[in-house]
């Protein structure tokens, strides 16, 4: 990945457990976004956190951002089998909204 790495690359958990995915990036950013991708499908926007924010919630999602460490985490609480997908972080360092995606975490939630 040109921008950073996601950790872990793959995660397998049981339904009801929490899933935490981490993302690191290299350049200064305006905001960081998380996207979800089901196999072979388009990416779906989940949540956006601005560079001056430290934490954001949306339903069962919680995102943190540490600009000093250039890292972010996505927490999915009370996971469901339907959460099985790949999750990507994406950053923008330009006003033009060009996004650079990280390597993605493949999450499998077993029923």
């Amino acid at each position: 990945s040109q921008q950073g790495e996601e950790d872990p690359q793959a995660l397998s958990i049981q339904e009801g457990e929490n899933a935490t995915m981490n993302c690191s990036y290299k350049t200064s950013i305006n905001n960081l976004q998380w996207y979800r991708q089901n196999s072979g499908r388009g990416l779906v926007h989940l949540i956006l956190i601005r560079s001056n924010e430290r934490e954001k919630h949306s339903g069962r999602l919680r995102v943190t951002l540490d600009t000093s460490k250039k890292s972010s985490s996505l927490l999915i609480t009370a996971s469901r089998a339907a959460d099985t997908a790949s999750y990507f972080c994406a950053t923008d360092a330009h006003a033009g909204n060009m996004l650079t995606f990280g390597g993605g975490t493949r999450l499998m939630v077993k029923p």
Binding site: Q33, G40, R41, L43, V44, L48, N97, M98, F101
Partner: protein, 114 residues
């Protein structure tokens, strides 16, 4: 709600052939982006257009070109296709604003070069 429409859904071409991928953004979205995603890879930015003008350029090969038309739809033209061009090609659209807005992705065109 209307989403980003891409066509065709699947495309099979031979080496050295040409291909044209089409993208119809969400109504009133003024920005279109093209991404390439190889098997097991993260999406790589190719090119974007704002109000029909190229705004950013990423890792787009010289063999590829793109444009955005007056109705805001966009086409990605690919020539002299190579085996390594086999990938999912996504189009995304957004509405530019003071705070960068999320991208809305289409379901992609799966290009297979044989």
């Amino acid at each position: 709600a209307a989403g980003v429409i891409q066509s065709p859904r699947h495309l099979i071409k031979e080496k050295r052939e040409t291909a044209t991928l089409k993208c119809y953004p969400i109504p009133r979205h003024d920005t279109v982006y093209w991404y390439q995603q190889g098997p097991g890879q993260d999406p790589q930015f190719l090119i974007s257009f704002y109000e029909k003008m190229q705004s950013d350029k990423g890792s787009i090969p010289d063999r590829f070109s793109a444009q955005q038309f007056s109705d805001y739809h966009s086409e990605l033209n690919m020539s002299s296709l190579e085996l390594g061009d086999s990938a999912l090609y996504f189009c995304a659209s957004s509405r530019m604003g003071p705070v960068n807005s999320p991208l809305h992705f289409g379901n992609g065109t799966r290009l297979t070069v044989t």
